[in-house]
């Protein structure tokens, strides 16, 4: 018997010992970050960066496979007891000695998770992690000249790159409302002082939004530079247009943060993605009825919100609880009771 089969037999036996739970349910009590556990991280410190941004130092579990500079990680954080998932760029270099990673979070107004991370989390708390992902990364071959074009918290993935690899010729154009809003400002200025970076700060509160045509004046050789751009959609759209107008679009790499903007309305187009049906629904008819009407096989039970026999994944959009009026937005892993939920705008139900 190979050691692998031996191990799997031993595990089977262990499962018989712990049934109906799994051995991991017990192991999680003592060692939630061990190898083989669901990937989690422990928050070890929170360092404020600006008035509304902070860097969170995380010790990832043993299953963490590392990251490439520029990538992001999805974190699951319990806010008011509810687990919410968000993606944040990793701002630590890949070769950090202590194996910790950092994410830098800017609290956005009404942002449940960002405000929680910036203002409320305490060292010692556990969070859920996914592996790092994203292709907003540097190429294998070192480009001779680099431009980083960033705005607001768009600086975070770029900071991960800046800290990771030094280039001979790097220019950065960064937009923020005021000097004190520039995340990592002192570190950036240190790099400038050490002549490792040329930096232009655009303070939009006084200078106005960056007009992409001004690049010619700020960075005359921008078209020759391998460029990584990250920031609000407006900036990225303008950049993409600008680069392709000059026929150099292959030099531009962009990363869009997609804060899922769901406009909760009253009724909307409901897609039953597993069946491939789409129907219009009003804001008062339970989705269970909408689905059945459309000939979709919907699980159901009491039809009055008490048995949880109708719960179904909400893949996209938003729904309204007909009893409380509460809005639930789609997120991975979100399940809704179709018998007491109605469409609040277009939505996608996995049935």
């Amino acid at each position: 018997m190979t050691s692998a089969t031996l191990r799997s037999r031993a595990w089977k036996l262990l499962e018989m010992v712990t049934t109906p739970l799994l051995p991991s349910d017990y192991l999680d009590l003592v060692s939630p970050l061990r190898a083989g556990a669901d990937l989690r991280g422990r928050i070890e410190a929170v360092h404020p960066e600006t008035g509304d941004a902070a860097t969170v130092v995380i010790r990832p579990g043993r299953g963490w496979r590392g990251h490439t500079a520029g990538q992001y990680v999805r974190v699951g954080v319990d806010v008011d007891g509810v687990r919410l998932w968000r993606a944040y760029s990793i701002t630590s270099p890949t070769n950090r000695q202590d194996g910790r990673v950092t994410i830098t979070v800017k609290a956005i107004p009404d942002g449940k998770v960002s405000n929680h991370l910036v203002r409320r989390v305490k060292p010692g708390m556990l969070i859920q992690l996914d592996q790092a992902t994203g292709d907003f990364v540097l190429p294998q071959a070192k480009p001779a000249k680099v431009l980083y074009l960033t705005a607001g918290s768009g600086i975070t993935p770029v900071m991960g790159m800046l800290r990771d690899i030094e280039f001979d010729d790097v220019v950065m154009v960064h937009c923020a409302p005021q000097p004190q809003d520039v995340i990592f400002r002192s570190e950036l200025h240190d790099l400038v002082a050490a002549e490792k970076l040329r930096l232009t700060e655009v303070h939009t509160a006084t200078d106005g939004m960056l007009d992409i045509a001004r690049l010619d004046e700020l960075v005359p050789d921008w078209a020759e530079r391998e460029t990584w751009a990250c920031g609000p959609a407006g900036l990225l759209d303008a950049a993409e247009k600008h680069w392709s107008e000059h026929g150099v679009q292959e030099r531009l790499h962009t990363e869009r943060f997609r804060p899922s903007i769901v406009v909760a309305g009253d009724g909307g187009e409901v897609t039953f993605s597993a069946t491939g049906k789409t129907v219009d629904a009003d804001g008062a008819t339970p989705l269970l009825d909408v689905g059945e009407e459309a000939g979709v096989l919907m699980p159901s039970g009491c039809r009055m919100g008490i048995c949880f026999g109708c719960i179904t994944p909400l893949k996209a959009g938003a729904v309204r609880d007909l009893r409380t009026g509460e809005i639930t937005e789609a997120e991975p892993g979100v399940l809704i009771q179709t018998c007491v939920s109605a469409a609040a705008g277009p939505c996608d139900i996995e049935r």
Binding site: T18, P20, D78, V82, R83, I306, F308, G309, I311
Partner: protein, 372 residues
Amino acid sequence: MTAIDPTDHLTAEQIEELGRELDAIRDEVIADRGEKDAAYIRKVISAQRKLELVSRGVLLFSIFPPAWLLGTAGLSVAKIMDNMEIGHNILHGQWDWMRDPKIHSTTWEWDHVSPAEQWKHSHNELHHTYTNVIGKDNDLGYGIMRVDEDQKWHPFHLGQPLWNFINACFFEYGIAAYDLELGKNLNKRRRKNPEFRARAKAVGRKIRKQVLKDYVIHPLLSGPSFLPTLAATFTANLVRNIWSHSVIMCGHFPEGVQVFERRSIKGETRGQWYLRQMMGSANISGNRAVHFMTGNLSHQIEHHLFPDLPSNRYAEVAVKVRALFEKYELEYVTGPLPKQVFSAWRKVFRLSLPNKKPEVRTPDREQELVAA
């Protein structure tokens, strides 16, 4: 309905108003549900797991009587916690709002021979929707007993105190059989139904795993303590079964609880549904330990009104619910555990015999009797 309908004095508008007031109580808890509640269930789960681990550890040495006693007591409590405060409530979806896949009604499995999936159907859906409706709610006597005058008497019922006792001792098996609707499904034609067979198989698998764990693996691990460990797990299961059976009997069987006819729920409004839950359930009074060990089913009335509110909130909800009972002049059936258990058992004995000659009858019932 019993001869005198205790809700007769309420107008239709009052009943709807009552429904709105109950909805408001529910909304208040939901708006305030959060971190503390999540921390509560996490703490209970972790305590239960630790207690079970330690108890099973102690039982490895159960050849020594004090270890046997200690381990058996601990395991009994752990098993009760698993079924009552944790399993029952999670499977109701009480903690689904946390969006933690590990503490979720769709993924939870409990230390019980009835698979969670089947139990959710028969309990959450059938029992909670049709609470105390004769012929619809099988919990009403579990199909083996007569617990209301309005249920038809059959000579089979003469033995019901015995059936009930046996059911109490092997309650989890009773529940599994009941979830499978064995009585109904065992006839020749239904037995072959593939859907029933699949469900029966699932129960078989679950029983095998549970039995293997409790009566083979753990005793074997105990080596020289094989037999004492076996006896300990048997005892713990027995204690858990009798305990949960008693608690559950107190929920709907004590004197003063109403049952309803099938036709009374036709076109039922939300207010009427609430009212039926109020009149069809009974509480157990006691201290916090009692509430905890019953999985807060001591607040059966509140649980039936709001089956998906987190169990740790029933105590505070109960104060407001009780005030509504008073306001609407309804009887809030409650009492200490021994009294309620006694009351339920007395009913089981009494109704094992046919009804005495009728005293006051509503015309409605007369007709029913004639029809029967």
